[in-house]
């Protein structure tokens, strides 16, 4: 799960003391119709972003899983969710990380 380039900078500054970055206080997930990249989230016609919280990371496995299930994401048009993005705000904001979903999910308009 890559970190967004701006988050990489914040994390480097936090660890190395080169700056005083602001830590995200909340996290939201959105779904993407293409595999997200550093230059594009490819957010799909699914809304809203929903709150997601994570357990403490595992070590040395270097993995982390969500604590809460999320639903009530409405497809406003037909689309296939192949990726996800983690944000620090319900709208706009800063993307934190992204990845691809394990099982591709098709959605029709107004399904959840």
């Amino acid at each position: 799960m890559p970190f967004d380039p701006r988050v990489q900078k914040s994390a480097l500054d936090w660890v190395l003391g080169g700056g005083a970055p602001v830590r995200a206080t909340s996290r939201f997930i959105s779904f993407a119709t293409q595999s997200p990249r550093s230059d594009s989230a490819f957010d799909g016609p699914f809304s809203p972003r929903v709150t997601v919280s994570f357990a403490a990371a595992n070590s040395p496995q270097m993995s982390v899983t969500n604590l809460n299930a999320f639903s009530n994401v409405t497809a406003t048009a037909a689309g296939t969710a192949v990726g996800f993005n983690i944000w620090d705000a319900a709208a706009g904001g800063q993307r934190l990380a992204w990845g691809t979903v394990t099982a591709i999910s098709d959605a029709r308009a107004r399904t959840t």
Partner: protein
């Protein structure tokens, strides 16, 4: 130097995703390795050789490159015995063999220091990345 230690990998995940509240390092020390350091082991040079960890200072990270480099040179030694130096790692504590490793890597060219030698890492030559 692109290798993130196991300790720091967890701390970064927790810091970004909020699963826990990791402790921000208050100091950063460069350390030398006799072998090739790994994510969990530094194989550090012993103190009896005249070696000590050196404070590493960094500027603000570059973005989107996701990198930072040291802003001041660091000089190890003079050494009192011969040592074959292969790697370097960053730690959060000044004491040898203690604290948490942050990043690790190998020198571009391994160096064997002899009694009386010093080993210097010039400003800008220690490049830390997350990308």
């Amino acid at each position: 130097m692109a290798n993130v230690s196991a300790y720091l990998s967890k701390a970064l995940l927790d810091w970004v995703l909020g699963g826990a509240t990791p402790v921000q390092p208050t100091s950063r020390l460069a350390a030398l390795s006799l072998g090739t350091p790994t994510s969990v082991s530094g194989s550090e040079v012993g103190s009896a050789s005249g070696y000590a960890r050196q404070t590493a200072l960094f500027g603000a990270a570059a973005s989107p490159a996701g990198s930072a480099s040291n802003t001041a040179g660091m000089t190890f030694g003079p050494f009192s015995s011969s040592n074959a130096i292969q790697g370097l790692f960053l730690a959060d504590t000044v004491s040898i063999f203690s604290g948490n490793m942050l990043w690790y890597g190998t020198l571009l060219t391994a160096r064997t220091v002899l009694p009386g030698d010093t080993l210097t890492v010039a400003a800008g030559n220690l490049l830390i990345t997350l990308a």
